[in-house]
């Protein structure tokens, strides 16, 4: 059973819809207790990093339970968009620490000529490592992005994919030992390209 963490920020509905489409049962989880019976977790999120961490910290024992799932049980976890940024150590959006499951930080996009912020629309990725989650991804596969902050990982080995929008940033991040993955784009909004990622994730 895949749990979709609902801490009050994000497109829970579209992730629920796509998991059903690929034939996987999921439940929307709102309390620490409900996390006990899941064997995979999706961490969604749209909005403000500082606000998201505040809400996560407000749910009793949530951070402890999440750490237990990630570090001890090592269940596969997929962070999406803001959910990926939360996996890092820190964000400039709110200047607060994240979950620190993947070493790296979240920064504001620099203002560059002709490039509007947020980075909104379809873009491509460059795969950095070969893992089951990203198997069968083609060179021309495209994904839908919406974000004003980007992640830069500390250790090269934590970069799963990169994308260019004025600068190169880490559009996919990984903690291989602990089965933790994050993607900056919205696979649930990226047609068959995103469906592939969900299909791969449920097989892990």
């Amino acid at each position: 059973m895949i749990g979709i963490l609902n801490y009050g920020m994000g497109n829970i509905g579209s992730i629920f819809n796509i998991l059903r489409y690929v034939g996987c049962k999921s439940i929307i989880v709102e309390k620490s207790d409900d996390l006990k019976n899941i064997d995979k977790l999706i961490l969604p999120g749209v909005g403000h990093f500082g606000e998201a961490m505040k809400k996560i910290n407000e749910i009793p024992e949530l951070v402890e339970t999440l750490n237990f799932l990630a570090k001890d049980r090592k269940i596969p976890i997929l962070g999406i968009c803001l959910g990926m940024q939360l996996l890092t150590d820190f964000s400039e959006e709110g200047n607060v620490p994240g979950l620190s499951w993947i070493r790296g930080k979240t920064y504001k996009f620099p203002i560059l000529q002709n490039l509007k912020i947020p980075h909104m629309g379809w873009n491509t990725i460059k795969q950095k490592i070969d893992i089951p989650l990203t198997s069968e991804i083609g060179y021309e596969d495209r994904y839908y992005f919406v974000h004003s902050y980007y992640v830069k990982v500390l250790d090269k080995a934590s970069s799963m994919m990169t994308t260019n929008y004025g600068i190169d940033f880490d559009s996919g991040i990984i903690n291989k030992e602990e089965n933790i993955f994050g993607v900056q784009f919205h696979p649930e909004k990226s047609h068959k390209f995103g469906i592939k990622i969900f299909k791969n994730f449920i097989k892990i």
Binding site: N11, I12, G13, S14, F16, N17, I18, R20, Y21, V46, G47, H48, K116, I117, P118, H119, M120, G121, W122, N123, R142, Y144, F145, V146, N164, Y165, H186, E188, K189, S190, H191, K192, G194, I195
Partner: protein, 247 residues
């Protein structure tokens, strides 16, 4: 690098899809879920659904139809029509839509722009600015499906909604809409070059070069297409399609 978004924009009227010309002359196009399913198979960049009867129908949304769409389409979806409270916006977001389009309520209750933006992020709020020339050739902002003149200047209004928290502007020229004669390039350029948030150009596209021009000359970040994606050609029958283009 990022591709410019091309967004089929579908008009819902009392449960059916229609196409208009200058916000009038409603022609039946088809069934909403079937049409959206075709666009889904064509892997379009994004879809905007505008319910042009919702405001008149007591600000009610056709949630059943929207649910069917969200359950099958895995692409960015935006919805506009009769959204005048935060609660109504929430219902649409919960279905799996990620952007709300405000038009009439953006004028009558500006606070709603900020409310939605604070909770769901500015990228979740599009303000639709519908523009029509008045008797003296001055371009003004109209609301209520083009029935009411607010007498606002389009650029001033765009700047104001940007400050209020809108993340995008859907800029429509009522005079050009459904005419196949090309966009109001200068209107779009004036707005797009003077605000920081993306402008989606809408109204008048008839050929691929119109799309290139509104991107390259007018600086639009995205393009909304109506007639071009539901008709075979000007004055011809319905054909749901998505033109191949190299912009």
């Amino acid at each position: 690098m990022l591709n410019k978004r091309i967004i089929p924009t579908l008009l819902l009227k009392n449960g059916s899809l229609v196409k208009t010309k200058k916000f009038k002359n409603f022609k039946y196009v088809g069934d909403p879920s079937n049409t959206v399913r075709i666009f889904n198979e064509l892997e379009v960049d994004e879809i905007a659904i505008l319910d042009i009867s919702a405001t008149q129908n007591n600000f009610k949304q056709d949630l059943k139809c929207l649910k069917e769409i969200a359950e099958e389409c895995f692409m960015p979806l935006s919805y506009g029509g009769g959204i005048n409270t935060l609660d109504k916006a929430k219902k649409i977001f919960d279905l799996g839509f990620e952007k709300i389009i405000l038009n009439t309520a953006a004028v009558s209750n500006k606070n709603l722009i900020t409310q939605i933006s604070n909770i769901y992020g500015s990228q979740a709020v599009i303000v639709a600015i519908d523009v029509k020339k008045n008797f003296f050739g001055k371009k003004k902002v109209w609301i209520s499906s083009g029935k009411k003149n607010t007498k606002k200047n389009p650029l001033e209004w765009a700047k104001e909604v940007e400050l209020l928290g809108a993340g995008e502007i859907l800029l429509t020229s009522i005079d050009h809409e459904g005419t196949w004669q090309g966009f109001d390039y200068d209107l779009i350029k004036t707005v797009a070059t003077n605000i920081a948030i993306p402008v989606i150009a809408h109204g008048g596209a008839g050929k691929i070069s119109d799309i290139s021009k509104v991107i390259n000359y007018s600086n639009a970040s995205a393009v909304a297409l109506g007639s071009m994606v539901v008709y075979q050609k000007k004055d011809m029958g319905v054909l749901v399609n998505f033109p191949k283009m190299n912009l």
